[in-house]
């Protein structure tokens, strides 16, 4: 089976990082291969690599050009990518509560209208899939989820908002995600989760790993407030589901 896999492209990101690109698009299989290579590198480290950043379609490998050069590292990464097995990526599954709409999701109604759906249908379609954390990036804990129902795709806003609240659950293009800290966003804000994917002083500081599965479920505003208080005190609030 491994022989059928197309080799990734080994692309330079300057002189101290390599992008191992498996696809140009959002592609579930490519993302699995990204995560498989990431896991394999964690198991069998290459001297000179300082850290790796898995994304939807590529693995960014930061390295020290004093210790290893581009050609040597690129060759090793290409070879490892062919060995990495997507079977080895063991995922945890989380249940994550979300309050949809109202003050917590100011774009819910507008998004439903744009998609020609009722808000109820939008919520149920958004909460239905088992998502996978394809990547975490942009700001601490910002978790990009793959597996959005294609009927919910919606181009980003023309004008991004400069400040959107922590815990926001939103849709942007074919992507959906959990934002952890307040920040700018051009995505459509459907709701908020009290779960903090990143919290200093808590163990673990980062809750989700790339590759983890996430099932969203709706809670009301009162439950949100309760969970929010618990989360403030360092409780995880999300549930780890036994598999």
């Amino acid at each position: 089976m491994a022989a059928k896999l197309s080799p990734p492209r080994i692309l330079p990101s300057g002189d101290a990082a390599i992008t191992v690109e498996f696809s140009r698009q959002i592609d579930d299989e490519a993302n699995r291969r990204v995560l498989a290579l990431d896991r394999l590198l964690a198991k069998t480290p290459i001297d000179g690599i300082s850290e790796t950043v898995p994304t939807y379609r590529s693995l960014l490998v930061h390295y020290d050009p004093v210790r290893i050069d581009f050609d040597t590292l690129g060759g090793k990464l290409a070879a490892l990518a062919q060995q990495a097995s997507t079977q080895d990526v063991v995922a945890r599954r989380w249940r994550v509560p979300v309050t949809y709409g109202g003050e917590h999701g100011i774009d819910l109604e507008g998004t439903a209208k744009a998609l020609n759906l009722s808000t109820e249908a939008l919520i149920s379609r958004h909460a239905a899939p088992t998502y996978r954390v394809a990547m975490i990036g942009f700001t601490p804990g910002w978790s990009y989820l793959s597996g959005l129902d294609p009927s919910l795709e919606l181009t980003r806003r023309q004008t991004p908002r400069l400040l959107t609240p922590p815990g926001t659950i939103s849709i942007g293009g074919v992507q959906t995600g959990i934002q952890c800290i307040a920040g700018p966003s051009g995505w459509h804000l459907l709701g908020r989760t009290p779960v903090r994917t990143y919290q200093l002083g808590r163990d673990p500081i980062f809750l989700l790993e790339p590759g983890d599965e996430v099932k969203l479920y709706a809670i009301d505003a009162r439950q949100f407030a309760e969970c929010e208080r618990a989360a403030e005190h360092g409780e995880i609030v999300a549930e780890l589901v036994a598999r």
């Binding site: 990036g137 700001t139 004008t159 991004p160 200093l200």
Partner: protein
């Protein structure tokens, strides 16, 4: 311990060290000094590990006062006037700021960031992920998780009886900023890549520690549209949003970005690039990976060699200000507008 009081300060002044690495996979922005070599030079002069936490000072004037004891400090980076009372202070020489005295820095004459290093290991604070660097958006950094403000007080070691030092640092290369093409240069037609390399660009006044926006006559248009899928970024990534005006990502960048990246500034030239003031023209030059990595190794060798470059101070009271005026006559640009060094998030920085 002594105290360094921030008596006067403009925007874009914060505590920075080498940055916060190892958690970019969780979206943790690295931050860290915009000009790592200047940070290292300042630290070397006061006998610190090269990437100890120091004060990165933006382009406007600032005043620092010593309280509860004397403090040994050194300045590197941007060219600007520096005075204690009527005495001019030389760049690249350590000196003692006596208890009760104040160091007053003028606005930069050339360059953007200065580094003020403090003997005894630098600024004291509580590291997160091994770093005191301020990342205002994420609320990280110590002792203050934000840029410095008037009235802030930094606990710093009291000056030792050590001798003062000066340092000879080789002049930075001039000429175009070197880049390695990619990782997404194939999202652009060849003639567009050439247009990017041929054009003269200016650093926009809306630049900040997250990114330097480039303004130019050319519009760099993508072959397939600009809504590409987010992937990882590095310091120096040159991403091209729909406007066609590139943005060079700097240490406060998001760890991922959704715009195609036409090229990457080589690591050895990033500090030099960071010191180009807003309004100044610049060009890029594509180099081979071999040249880029040779430059990275040369930079690493220079850093290792810094302690060997320490000298006795000349003792001559150079009129640095006059010298600077002579040196930069004709090229100085008044880049400095308090409103331009803002920490407001901008629409092009988004997930």
């Amino acid at each position: 311990m002594s105290t360094l009081v921030i008596a006067m300060v403009g925007p874009a002044t914060s505590v920075q060290d080498a940055g916060r690495y190892g958690a970019q996979r969780y979206g943790m922005t690295p931050s860290g000094a915009m000009d790592p070599l200047a940070l290292a030079v300042a630290n070397c002069l006061v006998g610190n590990p090269l990437f100890s936490a120091a004060i990165e000072i933006g382009p406007l004037g600032a005043t620092f006062s010593a309280r509860d004891g004397a403090v040994r400090i050194a300045l590197a980076g941007a060219q600007r006037s520096a005075k204690v009372g009527q005495d001019s202070i030389a760049l690249h020489e350590s000196f003692i700021l006596a208890e009760g005295d104040s160091l007053t820095l003028g606005a930069t004459r050339d360059g953007v960031f200065s580094y003020l290093a403090i003997e005894g290991g630098g600024v004291k604070g509580e590291p997160t992920f091994g770093s005191l660097s301020v990342n205002a958006r994420a609320g990280l950094g110590s002792p203050y998780p934000r840029p410095l403000q008037v009235g802030d007080e930094l606990q710093v070691p009291t000056a030792s009886l050590a001798n003062e030092h000066a340092i000879i640092v080789p002049a930075r290369p001039e000429g175009p900023i070197r880049v390695v093409l990619g990782p997404q240069d194939d999202e652009f037609d060849d003639d567009i890549v050439q247009l990017f390399l041929r054009s003269e660009w200016k650093i926009s006044g809306t630049s900040d520690r997250m990114g330097y926006r480039l303004e130019g006559p050319a519009k760099i248009l993508h072959r397939y549209g600009h809504n590409v899928v987010s992937d990882g970024t590095v310091n120096g990534s040159i991403q091209v949003p729909g406007s066609g005006q590139p943005i060079v990502l700097m240490p406060d960048r998001g760890t991922s970005g959704g715009y195609p990246k036409i090229a990457t500034v080589i690591s050895a030239d990033l500090g030099r690039f960071a010191q180009i003031p807003a309004g100044r023209g610049l060009r890029f030059k594509a180099v081979s990976m071999q040249e880029a990595q040779a430059a990275a190794r040369a930079m690493a060798a220079l850093l290792r060699d810094l302690p060997n470059r320490l000298r006795e101070p000349s003792g001559l009271a150079l009129d640095i200000e006059a010298l600077q005026n002579a040196n930069v006559a004709g090229v100085a640009v008044n880049a400095i507008d308090a409103g331009t060094w803002q920490s407001e998030p901008s629409p092009d920085h988004q997930p």
